[in-house]
Symmetry: none
Subunit: 138 residues, 2 copies
DNA sequence: ACTCCTTTCATACTAAAGTACTAAAATGCT
DNA sequence: AGCATTTTAGTACTTTAGTATGAAAGGAGT
């Protein structure tokens, strides 16, 4: 939470600085307004990508009607919960890896950890337990 | 249904015959009443086991709030549906085999057929599909 | 800075799951 | 009684899943 505030504060500050710079440059005539605009555009393009990437790792936060208390008590990490969701959709490790842009090894690691935390021996059991705990949507 | 009626009719007939025999034997004194009683007890013991076994294969019929139309359209057999239920409870093939008193090979056969009928590649996908079809309880 | 946690990935196995046939009883229906 | 389906089971593989372990990099908090 503190991170988010700091990031946004930094963004606003950066924006103000850019505005000041653009004003100065425009007045002194040593840079065309088009270049300034393009510069700002590019920076905000990447900021947009970054913010989108951060907020699009939803997992726990944007999870719909879900028992968040149980979720936290389990100690499942974001990624683990994300993998759990894909498992409950019937995907294989390889498919999950492709979908999340990581290797199958990584998914296996997540699955192993997730099984321990859910005290399950198999992914199907993990699904069942998660459902009865109200951790999964639907 | 007809089978059940016939079986019960046969059972009642057998019971009457045993009663007649016991009466005759008791009167003629060539068999002690205890042996007759023991005989009847043993027979009804096994009948009890048989009836219990038959009625305890619930599957489709006693399935709770379940979309029976989808179920029939899928063409899932009783046993296949039974196996599907156990899969959704997170059991392994071996565990299901133990629970249903059959070999693991048999369960594998059921699972394979069930996956084809549900058009699923994995058991987890079968669970997901079955849930969205309203075929599974909960 | 240091430390904990998370995420990533790899190797090397072991254990389940699934597939493809084949085949024999049993069950159910006509 | 005969036929179709279901249930059972086996063998022989191939493919996923899951475990164990080690390791590197980055984020977050003290």
């Amino acid at each position: 939470m503190k991170r988010t505030i700091l990031i946004f504060a930094a963004l606003i500050a950066a924006l103000l600085i850019l505005f000041q710079l653009s004003k100065y440059s425009y007045a002194s005539g040593d840079a065309s307004i088009e270049i300034i605009i393009a510069f700002i555009a590019v920076i905000f393009f990447f900021i947009g990508i970054y913010i989108n990437k951060k907020s699009r790792t939803p997992a726990i936060d944007n999870a719909p009607q879900v028992n968040k208390k149980s979720l936290e008590q389990l100690g499942l990490s974001r990624r683990e919960y994300e993998v759990l969701l894909e498992i409950s959709q019937g995907l294989s490790n390889k498919e999950i890896a492709t979908k999340l842009f990581v290797s199958e090894s990584t998914i296996k690691t997540h699955v192993s950890n997730l099984l321990v935390k859910l005290d399950a021996k198999r992914r199907t059991q993990a699904i069942q337990k998660a459902k009865t705990m109200g951790i999964l949507p639907n």
